[in-house]
Symmetry: D2
Subunit: 399 residues, 4 copies
């Protein structure tokens, strides 16, 4: 395991979370240079986080001779330029989500790092939450059978910096800000090799006086027949709602990452204090999260990234994944406009996936559609005669 | 309050639940006649539920001179005929859900009872659950502001009688069986006068060897701009999942009717016993419901129906509501086939609803897009300059 | 089933809940006379609840010729007098909890009704909640094995009427107000025939400027070896906390009756409105209960009482149960004062209960203390050699 | 920050968890030597965990010239000897919980390290869970007012190694195994300077064929008047139940560390796989924990220990804390035997704590005992006249 020195580009909330993650605990990796357009913000950030060097020159920061990894924590419209500089200077680059504002930009970024041969990791934290990692592992080991449906929901009262609200700089609204997480969560449960074929999206601006959408619901059809579904909103009231559900032929998974994690507090007020990201109040019933950077996946994400750099392997989330996400989001906007399914256009590298298939139980030559336990303990079978197509009920003893 | 004598048509699970509800507690209303095609089933039902009369003749049962109310608890394809008989014999009729197999059939049924002038109530139990009644009341009193989105989810491992699985007799699959509940739950939260305009639906048969859909996700656009969303499945594993979520401009509601209601039990097995409708196991962690007929709304539903009969008023759920539900379901099937939004075609009686509108806070001449509490207690404002369209951040003191 | 006409003694919160329960739904029983010391309160109550007759004379109300059942909803120090009048006038009497202020008073009351031969039911609602009824049934059917421990917790910010806070009129503080519920809940899970032997109690007045205890924790030892435990408080913040837990040799039960029942609402405020009994706020995250009188057991309690009157049987909760509760509470106060276990002195009618016994699994001649599944799927046995008393580990294949 | 090389004493479950924690992520500290009595187990452990050196000689392992920190992960009866060796060889020592089998042994251990002047940290992981750390911080910042009561519950079906079940080697049963966690959790919420005065304990052996207690409930009185309460069991069914509750004059905290943390899975079986420590089944409803070593506090515990070593400060949990825990457990056993409160005998270093005090609101010269919101929005005051001691109700307008 090597010790890495990092150039951090950006001093916003995401740069802060990344730096706190790297500097937390007993980590061997340190932020060595921090970049901001504003010298004042760079200095304040360096002082508060123990970073030895600052810069207001993007290329200087990237090219700093004592760092080997660059973390891009800038607004979306600045990713491409920053990553080009990393490629030019041969630096490993880790880019915050979304990779770009649209698939075209994402593809150019992907080509840039692949042409340059630099390590490139996509910082999609929410697929690295400890719960998600373990749930994905459970799915892969067959504990819930074949996945038929996955829902990812990310909603809160709206993002915390002005540029998010500006469609030009962000590339979109709630879909780009939040949907990018949901898409990768859904892909992780579906299997990365399960091709997303088409999207249907509803998007509207219901509450905020902005041009971008503040609410959207999107459906993603996968090659296996399974359906992904995500809901994003900048108008949710009650804090930050991060929940995922997965249905399989033999089981179900429900994850709650934020508002109901086993920590519940009532406060009549007083004492003040920070509750959690995007919490709305500091009195009444509150639902804090134990360790936010860990629960939101930042810790395991950086562990995976540095392990991949050290091991010369691919990280779990690559720039190709970021490009897939942007392609799906582009299809969302196309669908929302057209009101029909929109095909997902992308260079697919993932192979093919067969349709979900199950072998039904048989009983006396007929297909068992369902076996249900009655209140009296007997079993009720719904049978289908394959020749006639007729359905019938049959009560049988248990077992 | 009058005492009513009821003719119960049908001896299946729904007829049993209805009868147990009427006969439970200290109720003044009794099932006086029970009808089944099978004399054996009618007799068994009468014996087990203390019903004095049986019949295997539908018209005879409806026309029984000592009953004033008929409850239709028959498979979907038999509703129209039974209701015609009720109209002919001037009986108040209460019909289980869905009202019909499609909007055309529903409209004929509606016309029949309206022409005859008989009382007609639509037995949509899930809008009568105590939680839903109180939650709808909270929405109407303004506690969560204007509704922007409502989700209703009803999934389980599949229905308990053969006819449900037969598209001809049922009129469809999971959408008709389960979606009819979801639609009325969503309409109750949106407001019955808020016109449903169009539907988008995904439907597929992923697991069971049947023609009808076993999974569907449907979106319903309302005149106010709000979106309804429902998920139905006959392939869910883990019991019966009945959850609703409502988002408003000033609040949020989450309801869980079945699997997480404050009753949790682990059993290493032994003792046997019924856990809950559609529970899959009797060992491990179990989530029973205290009083199923009450929690599922049957008690409050019949209270409302008989009170409306006695008072000469309309019940909360009418045959017109049943017709609206069938119209929306027809649009679901049309949309699922076409892959685009399908308009909802119906005779609308509900008036018009204005678009969701909010008046944003202003700060020094700019629009406040968002006000967020920072960890240090100060407030961060996102401001929009209406002339330039530019967004900016501003940190201000609390309050 | 007969129709009953009821004299309601008392117009406080409990009298209101009882009357709403009786008059709710399609019930056949009605409050026919209401008594209050204050003519103004009696009239207001009669008007609001549709009660045809009022009285400010206790005996006149009890003796009213058109009522056959008297419900005692008066402060604790008035129970004895009211019940004496019921006995004298041969009326069936249902008395709110606790039966009396102490065991001596309770015993006199018990003797009075038994000597007079009138029907007497003890209105302990919380053992009649639908969840408790089903959970007790699960325990009796063996689903969790032999009960080893039961915890009942009832806490809130303090009662709603002045007399509760007055030790003289109430007979005590939080133990008498809330512990009486807990004791019957615990006895219901332990089995009514399982004799409570001794009590240990801690009680203190930590917050309120009163003489009575505002917090207490009490342990009750039962003849089977099982331990009951209850916690009561008038200083809890966050609403009304009603939870029960039961541990058995083969299972576990957790019940939550109030703050987490599957109904969750966030409101930014506005709309006002009642949330739930003893809720502290009407904004922030709120946890309403669907139908309070049903969830708190009032409906099933009166159903049982009237069914017992009609059937000439004993209700589930009798005055003898009320007397047992008072005996246990007397022991609590004695123990809290002495700081040691206090024996429970009562006339026991319940027979004897053997000690909890389990037959351990054996493996190769040794006792299997524990069988645990390892992460790799093998089983780890902890074995005890009965001759030597030595313990050892053994890893074996699964199954 | 220095890099530390660690000698790990013991290759059981606790040694494995410790090593996985140290070696997980991007940590700079490594286990360099592992000791076991059995060369086979030492070799296997070293191989599986990447540890370069093994030893079957305790002193050799402790004295290894390339390690500066020794972690004691041995059965309880071997702690004293191991710590003596650490003191003799001037090594920083971190000892697993409990520190010793009784207070006498703990005191000798404490004296040994203090006389030698070596760094000594007490590895009580459960006060370091992210939830507990944040909850303790919330309490200290005043968010729930003065603590009046804290409950800690740790129960599961029994420990995983033979020596735990042997009272001689372990020093006791469930109280020593599990109560040691609960006591430090309670002390953390009460404030470490709040002296524990006396204990009441009930302990019994209800299920397992052993001499030690398999169930206990203990109460701890603190100088402030607050009560600590803990429940421990080796007979709980359903997994590992780790919950804490804290009540304060202005708020409430509920923590659930294991069975309900926002990760819920139903599996019809198949796929196998490890669910969580002490989980009982791999089918049905399962409640895995995202990242066990993090959620159980191991990560933050070692971070604190090494930061304290590096900074020359005291860790959050010291050997003095371990000694206090043993003193309280000794009092538990004394109390369980005597059936009365047992004083806690210890050398107290923590100063004094005043009694919980609150200043009641006043209204028109009287003390406001309670202010409650009525369904109609008005406020109901319970007032106490301090001269007469009389209580009365008063309805007033809101606000």
């Amino acid at each position: 395991m090597a010790d890495h020195r990092v150039t951090m580009l950006g001093t916003g909330l995401i740069g802060l979370f990344y730096t706190q993650t790297l500097h937390g605990g007993r980590g061997r990796d340190r932020v060595h240079v921090v970049y901001s357009r504003s010298a004042e913000r760079a200095d304040a950030f360096a002082r508060e986080n123990g970073v030895p060097n600052t810069s207001t020159d993007l290329e200087e920061a990237v090219a700093h001779p004592e760092t080997d990894v660059v973390v891009v924590g800038l607004p979306n419209h600045l990713h491409e330029q920053a990553i080009e500089l990393c490629a030019r200077h041969g630096k490993a680059v880790l880019c915050t989500k979304p990779l770009a504002r649209n698939a075209g930009e994402a593809k150019r970024i992907l080509d840039t790092v692949e042409d340059a041969g630099v390590f490139a990791g996509y910082l999609e934290d929410l697929v690295y939450t400890p719960k998600t990692l373990k749930a994905v592992q459970a799915v892969r080991s067959g504990q819930i059978g074949a996945v038929t449906w996955a829902r990812s929901r990310e909603t809160h009262p709206g993002p915390h910096s002005a540029w998010f609200w500006d469609r030009e700089r962000a590339g979109g609204g709630a879909i780009v800000d939040l949907g990018c997480h949901c898409i990768e969560i859904i892909r992780s449960f579906m299997g990365k090799g399960n091709r997303p074929l088409a999207v249907f999206a509803w998007a509207d601006t219901l509450v905020h006086p902005i041009d971008a959408e503040d609410n959207a619901v999107c459906l993603v059809r996968f090659e296996s027949g399974a359906l992904g579904q995500f809901e994003v909103s900048w108008t949710f009231r009650g804090g930050m709602d991060l929940r995922d559900e997965v249905a399989g032929t033999h089981g179900t998974i429900w994850l709650n990452h934020f508002l109901r994690t086993g920590f519940e507090m009532f406060s009549a007020g007083g004492g003040g204090g920070y509750v959690a990201e995007k919490a709305e109040t500091s009195a009444g019933w509150l639902f804090p999260v134990g360790d936010e950077v860990s629960e939101l996946g930042y810790a395991d994400m950086f562990n995976d990234m540095f392990a991949a750099i050290d091991g010369g392997t691919e990280p779990q989330e690559t720039f190709y994944d970021g490009y897939v996400v942007n392609s799906i989001m582009d299809a969302c906007y196309a669908s929302a406009k057209a009101g029909t399914w929109a095909p997902i256009e992308l260079e697919w590298r993932g192979g093919t996936t067969p349709r979900i298939a199950t072998t039904p139980e048989r009983y006396e030559g007929q297909v068992v559609i369902k076996r249900e336990i009655l209140p009296d303990g007997r079993h009720k079978l719904i049978l289908k005669d394959e020749k006639s197509g007729d359905f019938s009920d049959r009560i049988v003893a248990a077992g």
